[in-house]
Structures are given as C-alpha cells and as structure tokens.
C-alpha cells in the first residue's frame, strides 16, 4: 500500500472553522481539546542538532510544558520530556535522557532560540458509526504562518485515513507538506536550516583572476567575524570567540600569503590590524581553553588531589571575567570598528592597481606548492636534538599550508584533498600537543606565581605542580613521537599526492 500523506498545509482562504465544518460534513468528528500554545525551536549557532537530523522544540501551554526531540527528516518523535525552562547548555538538563542525547552533540555550545511560534492547537477524533475513533487530527493554527493539519493513523483503520487524506487534498485543496514547520518559520525570517558554518566552502571558477577570487575568501571570513562578534562580546558560549578568532587568523594568513594580490599599503595596514585583533582577543581565548579543560585537568590528577585544584578554577574564573570585560570593550571600540568597515569597503571595490594576471587555479597551485616545500624543508632538518623553536616554526608553516588548502579545496578532487588534509592534520595534532602542553605548563607556573600573592592553600600549589609535571610529560611524549609522525607525512604516497595535485602541468 502506498504511504498515506499525514502532514498538510491549509490554503490561505480556508480558515480553521471552515476546515472543521467541511470535514465534519463528510466524517463524523469530535473535538477533544483546544488550547493556546507556544512552540519554541532551539539549536546551537552552528546547527549541531540539525546536522544530526534533529529538531528540538519546547511546547508550552497552561496545562503542560515539555521538550520534544524528533527527527528532522521524517518528523518522528524520539523523546518527549517534561521541562519548564530551557537551560543554555545541554549539560544543565535535569533529565539524564536529554543530557545523554544532546551533550555529545552540543558539547560547549549554547542552545539558542531559533524561532518562537504562537498557535492555537485543536485535537479532533474522527469517528465511525459505533463512535469508535478511526483517526486523529491535530490542527495547528499559527498567527503568522500557514495552518497545519496532521493526521494520526490508527492501526487497522488505514482505509479511513486514506479517504480522509484524499478528501483533504481533492475537496479541501490542502497541500502535502514534507518539511517541518520550523523551515517555514525560518523562511519568514529570511533564514534556512544550516545557514551558518564557520567552514569555508567556495566554489571558484578555476579561471577567475586570482585577485578577484581571494576577495571572495576574505568576504566569507569577514562574514564569520561579523556573525560571531556580538555573541563573542556577550560570551554566549566559547565557540563564538573561537570562530571569530579563527576567521581573523585566516584573514591574516591570507594577507601574508596573497601579498602579490594587493597593494603594499593595503597589506601592511590590514596585516597590522588583524594581528592586533588576534592579540587583543587571545587572553580571553586562552582562559576559555583552560576553563574548558579544567575538568579534564582535574581528572588527570590522583583522586585525592583533584579537589585541591578547585581554587585554581576560581582564580581562572576571576581572571576570565576581567579579560572578557576588556575584550567586550575592545570589540565595541573605534579601534576595532573603523578598520573593519574600511576593510569591508575595500573588499567591495574592484582594485585596478593589481597587475597580477594569474588565474586562481595557477595561483593556488603555486602558493600551496611553495608552502608545502617550506614545510618539507623545515621538517627534514629536525632531529631528536633540535630545539623547540624549530618545531614551533614548522607548526606555523603547517598552519599556513592547512589554511591555503582549505581556502582552495574546491579546486581539487575531493577525495585527494581529504587524504592530504588528513595527513597534515595528524602532523599538526602532534605539533599542537607538543607546543600547547608546554605553553599550558608555563602558564600554570605563571598563575602559580600570581596566586602566591593571594591567600591560597598550599595543597593547591602542590596540585598545580603535579599538573605542570603531567603537562610536561605530555609535551615530551609528543616530542618523542615526532620523527615517526613526520615520516608518515613525508611517505612516498603523500609526497606524490602533493606533487600531482599542486604542481601545474604546463
């Protein structure tokens, strides 16, 4: 049997009263309840629930308040949990079911209100001659969207449901809807599900002049900066500032990598500006990271020592509060805003002074190949005795290479780019572990010095020292694995892949 459509939209000339009375003429029905309700949809800024095919909606009326978690694609209910107020973070749900389902997806991201709909809700039973219910209807009468009718089938009465559904489509001219009401609500706001991602995804025409193409990259990055700015100021969650800073860093990398595609004046001015912006926001981000890692730090200590670390948490919170206030002030200052507006204007204008004739394909090939060679050159000089600074330099070059490949990835075959990025990521991870653990160790010792001036218990310092040792060990361990990991990166397979992708065959 063909699938019976169950979700419908009312045509705008049919109000609920008419819909009910016309249906009642053909099918005996009974109104079982009617109430006013508010439906609020939630997701993280980067659509983690939507990406996992989930819809999260809070339904509230005088009689109830519950959270529905359902599949986006087929609107099947997954769980329904009574809930009065929506927490900001998934970790704060009282219900273990919700924590279990949502925390792994949302992690540190805040749940934001996507859309809030007021509606009148009607529940009706369709009856047969014995006054037995043979189908159920739910009508949602929205204030500003097309009204919806959902048909609930009852086992063994599919024939009645088919007749009802045919009547809706043919006689009442209802339309079948395949997308949840959230999509219509977002559309009314000029939005659509998944409309934000911090990832660049640009489809270049390979023949576009390079200096034009790179402006598209800058524009997307600027968009990310602007979209995250307000919530980075508000500290809605830590990822806003993170995405903001990554876009700043990528813009900076672009300015240094694409020097030949802009005037010296432009390069110098904005390189300095974005460098300043990176520095201005770095303390808050560092503290964010320490606080995000805090539970993990504690867990890496012996059980008896864990609670001794708590005063460090309080110290970091205080420090963070001040840093965040400063950051907020900076991001509202002229020093921040004026150059950003100028930058936007610069990106809109055509730049006639550029006489670089390279296509984006040629340019990307050359640039990536050059930085790749730099990585190889730096990497191959490193041995077990090399000082940390050479590994740090290698890490910087790897980061540049990574950004370049990500900027231009759509110019290359997807699977090849994936394996190239995978090889690079593994090397970057190791270099990151090496440096970040060492940096964190240093920071920890610095905090200790600062805290010595205050009234902190001796055990806290002992715990911090233990943690510093752990971090040092972690850094050493990463260092000892370098040669092995680097050998994987420069294995013949990877080398020839880089060569075949990025050396122009002209």
């Amino acid at each position: 049997m063909a699938e019976i459509p169950v979700h419908f939209e009312l045509p705008s000339n049919l109000n609920i009263e008419k819909f009910i009375s016309r249906t009642a003429k053909k099918f005996p029905l009974q109104l079982t309840s009617q109430y006013y309700a508010v439906k609020t949809f939630y997701d993280s800024f980067d659509w983690r629930l939507y990406d996992a095919d989930l819809i999260c909606e809070l339904n509230q009326s005088k009689q109830f308040s519950y959270l529905n978690l359902s599949n986006y694609s087929n609107e099947q209910l997954i769980s329904r949990v009574d809930l009065e107020n929506m927490p900001v973070f998934a970790s704060d749900f009282a219900s273990p079911v919700l924590v279990q389902q949502l925390l792994p997806l949302l992690e540190m991201r805040a749940m934001l209100q996507l859309s809030c709909l007021n509606l009148q809700c009607y529940h009706l039973n369709i009856l047969n001659n014995d006054e037995k219910t043979i189908a159920r209807l739910t009508i949602e009468e929205y204030e500003s969207l097309k009204h919806r009718v959902s048909l609930e089938l009852i086992k063994g009465y599919e024939k009645a449901a088919t007749q009802l559904s045919e009547f809706f489509l043919e006689s009442l001219e209802l339309k079948v809807v395949k997308k949840p009401v959230l999509v219509a609500a977002l559309k009314a706001q000029g939005r659509f599900p998944g409309d934000y991602s911090a990832k660049l995804d640009i489809n270049f025409d390979p023949n576009t002049p390079a200096h034009k193409a790179i402006k598209t990259i800058y524009k997307q990055l600027l968009q990310v900066i602007k979209l995250n700015e307000q919530d980075a100021i508000n500290a809605t969650d830590t990822e806003f500032l993170h995405d903001f800073r990554v876009a700043v860093r990528k813009t900076r990398a672009g300015l240094s990598q694409f020097k030949s595609l802009a005037s010296e004046e432009v390069s110098n001015r904005y390189s300095a500006y974005f460098a300043w912006l990176g520095q201005t926001t770095s303390l808050t981000r560092d503290l964010d990271v320490y606080l995000l890692n805090f539970e993990h730090y504690k867990a890496s200590l012996p059980v008896a020592m864990r609670d001794d670390l708590n005063p460090l948490g309080e110290f970091l919170q205080l420090k963070h509060k001040t840093a965040q206030q400063e950051l907020a002030a900076q991001l509202k200052s002229k020093q921040y805003l004026t150059p950003l507006i100028d930058w936007e204007h610069y990106l809109e204008k055509a730049d006639k002074s550029i006489d670089n004739k390279l296509s984006i394909q040629e340019f990307a090939n050359a640039r990536i190949w050059k930085i790749y060679q730099r990585v190889i050159k730096q990497g191959s000089t490193i041995n077990n005795q090399s000082p940390p600074v050479v590994l740090h330099d290698l890490r910087k070059s790897c980061k540049k290479l990574r950004y370049l490949i990500e900027f231009f990835q759509n110019l290359y075959p997807e699977t090849d780019i994936k394996s190239v990025l995978k090889a690079l990521k593994e090397l970057q991870e190791l270099l990151g572990d090496f440096q970040d653990s060492a940096v964190q160790e240093q920071a920890l010792l610095q905090f200790k010095t600062e805290m010595m001036a205050g009234d902190y218990p001796e055990q806290t310092f002992i715990a911090m020292e233990a943690l510093a040792q752990m971090l040092e060990a972690k850094s050493c361990q990463a260092r000892s694995h370098f040669s092995k990991q680097y050998a994987v990166f420069v294995a013949t397979r990877n080398r020839s892949l880089f060569k075949s992708l990025f050396v122009s065959k002209t």
Binding site: N125, N128, D130, E131, K132, T133, I154, K155, G156
Partner: protein
C-alpha cells in the same frame, strides 16, 4: 511478552470485565498491550467498539494462513490494541481439532508478536474444551474470577486439578474474588474460608458495582470514564498484585 488469560469453567463471572480493565491499566502505564477476543460472543470487541469480524474466519486463522498482525485494530487508547472476535470462533474447537498439535496452536500463532507487545490478554469463552487447553499452553498466567459461593469453590477445585493434570509447569493460576457484595455476611465468611483453603487466591476483591455494569452502556473500559472510586481502585489493586507474577517470569 507475557500472556495473561482470563478463564473460568462457568460463564458470566466477570472475565471480560477483568480482561478489558486490566489491559486498559497496563496500556495506561505504558506497556504495549493486546487483547485477543477469543469468545464468539465478542464482548470485549464490543467494549472497544470494534466490529467482531476477521477476514477468513477461524479456519484460515488457526491454519496459520492469515497473519495476526493485519487483523489487529488500534483501540481509542494509547498502547492498547485488539484482535477482534469472529462469529466463526464458535467452531474453534473443531477447527483446532482438525489441525496438527491443536494444543500448541495459539502459542505458535502468537509467537510473531513477541516483539510488538509487552502483554497479551486472552479473553476466553467459558467451558473446558480444546481451546482452553491451547490457552493454558500459551499463557504465563491464568486469572480466574471466583464469585464467593459454595458452588464456585467446587469449580475452582475442578480447574486446579484440570491444570495439574495437564502438567503445565510454567502456568500460574491466580484466582481472585469477583462480583463481591460486601453487604452479604455470607460472602465475607465464605471468602475467608476459601482463602484459608486456597492461599493462592489474591487479596484484591472486585466489588459488585453498577459502575462496572455501565461499561456495557459506555462501551469502554472503566478507566475510560472513571478515574476514582471503589471499582477502579479494585482493578488497580488487582493489577498491582498480578504484575509481580509477570515480572518474576520475565527475569527467568
């Protein structure tokens, strides 16, 4: 999946009322529940306003030609389904007898529903027959309403010996008092006497109540129109007493 049969040799003692009301309570607490109306009089189908008719009748059903699932109907209550009766069920004994291993037939037919339902209630017609043997073979628990009269004491003993003769080890017989008139001194003293002799008789007692009789007019389980009162509380108590017997089975 656990199978609960309501059964008595004698008719009109409250089997159907018990089936319908306990199934309602089970479903209301979230268990996926099915009632199979095995009685051609179709009383439980009637209470759920479902037409007592199945395609192919008893012959095709018992022969295993029709699957059970497409014959099942959703009731007006969440989690509660019904497999309706059919007039041809009056010949169930003959049909069973014509097939192979008649006493194992029901069990076999119900097997595919294992994953669909937590509880299946079998509402049986009165009398000792081949069908009742098949019911006993399929059931985990047999609920047997007993009206407190001297005659029913004998019928209960008959039933006990019938079950022990059929050597059904896993079957648990749970008798309980039904249609109890608390004003009758005779009822009270008889119940005490019987309970002393048959300690397996449950302590929940279903009163004789006009509210229960009204099910026939309302055409729905008691819980569909009454949320409070002696009658519904008695069924709740009965269900709470039966439930552990089903769970202790489940743990095996």
């Amino acid at each position: 999946m656990k199978i609960i049969a309501t059964y008595t040799i004698k008719g009109g003692v409250g089997k159907t009322a018990t089936t319908v009301n306990l199934a309602f309570l089970a479903a209301a607490s979230g268990y996926k529940t099915l009632v199979w109306d095995l009685d051609p009089q179709a009383a439980s189908s009637y209470y759920f306003r479902i037409k007592p008719k199945i395609k192919g009748g008893s012959k095709e059903l018992i022969a295993g030609k029709t699957e059970l699932d497409p014959l099942i109907k959703g009731t007006d209550f969440d989690n509660l389904h019904l497999l309706p009766a059919d007039f041809s069920f009056r010949n169930l004994d003959l049909v069973l007898d014509a097939g192979k291993k008649p006493t194992q037939r029901l069990q076999k037919l119900l097997q595919p529903l294992e994953k669909e339902y937590d509880f299946i209630f079998l509402d049986c017609p009165p009398s000792i027959s081949l069908l009742s043997e098949a019911v006993f073979a399929a059931a985990d628990v047999v609920l047997s309403p007993v009206i407190p009269t001297t005659l029913s004491l004998r019928t209960l003993e008959q039933l006990k010996s019938f079950i022990s003769e059929s050597k059904l080890k896993k079957l648990k017989l749970l008798p309980f008092f039904s249609m109890v008139d608390g004003r009758k001194k005779l009822h009270i003293s008889l119940m005490e006497e019987m309970q002393a002799q048959h300690p397996e008789i449950l302590s929940a007692r279903i009163p004789c109540s006009s509210e229960i009789e009204q099910m026939g007019i309302k055409r729905m389980p008691l819980g569909g129109y009454a949320t409070k009162g002696r009658a519904i509380e008695a069924y709740q108590q009965l269900w709470q007493e039966v439930l552990p017997h089903l769970q202790s089975h489940q743990q095996k």
